[in-house]
């Protein structure tokens, strides 16, 4: 701002520029602050043996819309770090399905050695809850290229 035509103008010794030398320090401070305060949703990994499949696909869906259901070898079911009974699956999944706007994907993390009867019971529960999008969590199986067409 130029003040013209007046004896009021004073010469100031203070610089009119914001000091930029500490800008990087401020940025780092913010960065570290957000790093420290961010909390990731974390679930304990259960010990399971992943089944392998060559047709394994990536699931492009927001993390919030994926519900992990763990089924252990002996038929124990875990959702959100809590062991539940098989009959409780539908009452838990039902509200989550509605809350997600019917987009919920159930990721069935089943041990490779689990007898199929438990997997079938889970599927019946999911059908009762209305959650129809299911992913059988698998590890990518790498076959010899010659075998694949």
């Amino acid at each position: 701002m130029s003040m013209t035509g007046g004896g009021l103008q004073r010469k100031s010794k203070a610089s009119d520029q914001i000091p930029s030398s500490s800008l990087a320090d401020i940025a780092f401070l913010l960065l570290i602050f957000f790093m420290v305060t961010t909390v990731f949703r974390q679930e304990a990994e259960r010990q399971i043996e992943w089944p392998e499949a060559a047709a394994t696909q990536q699931i492009d869906e927001k993390r919030d819309n994926i519900l992990y259901v763990w089924i252990e070898r002996n038929g124990d079911v875990w959702i959100n770090d809590r062991q539940i009974q098989m009959v409780e699956v539908a009452p838990i999944v039902g509200p989550a399905w509605v809350a997600s706007g019917q987009r919920l994907i159930i990721s069935l993390r089943t041990d490779a050695q689990t007898p199929y009867r438990f997997v079938d019971q889970i599927q019946e529960q999911l059908k009762a809850a209305g959650a129809v999008y299911v992913v059988f969590a698998t590890d990518l199986e790498r076959r010899m290229t010659g075998e694949r067409r």
């Binding site: 960065l31 499949a53 699931i59 997997v119 599927q123 059908k127 009762a128 209305g130 959650a131 059988f136």
Partner: protein
């Protein structure tokens, strides 16, 4: 020694003014190159409850997954059965679907069969491009 030493005008300090820039550069590099492990698996859409669809037996390929690891194949109403391995399902499906594009795979798994075998069959079917798959429990 004192005679040989020359006065140099070059500063012996590493310039630290651009250190922050280097740090940011590294930061951005790692931000860009980090990949988080994504969820992956075999997708399937379950039928809705009470959604019964009448399908002609001609269009059904029965696949029974047995606990021992072999797979029993039966076509529609014909009583002929053949035993194959889960891997062979892939080639079989390609052959069968070429003859009948409306074919539906009905995978019935024995209650005692491990999940791994059902996944192997589902994998073979999906590798062969099958889309109409029904997963059921084998009644014994």
């Amino acid at each position: 020694m004192a005679i040989l030493s020359k006065k140099t005008k070059v500063s012996d300090e590493i310039p630290s003014a651009s250190m922050a820039d280097i740090a940011f550069l590294l930061l951005i590099f790692f931000l860009v190159t980090t990949v988080f492990p994504k969820d992956r698996g075999l997708r399937i859409v379950l039928p809705e409850q009470q959604e019964e669809v009448e399908v002609s037996q001609r269009n059904i390929l029965h696949i029974h997954v047995m606990p021992g690891g072999n797979v029993v194949i039966r076509r529609g109403e014909s009583p002929d059965e053949s035993q194959i391995t889960p891997r062979q399902v892939e080639d079989l499906w390609r052959v069968e679907v070429a003859q009948n594009p409306n074919l539906i795979a009905v995978v019935r798994t024995h209650p005692d069969a491990p999940h791994r075998l059902m996944v192997a069959v589902l994998d073979a079917l999906q590798m062969a491009g099958a889309e109409r798959i029904s997963l059921q429990l084998l009644e014994v």
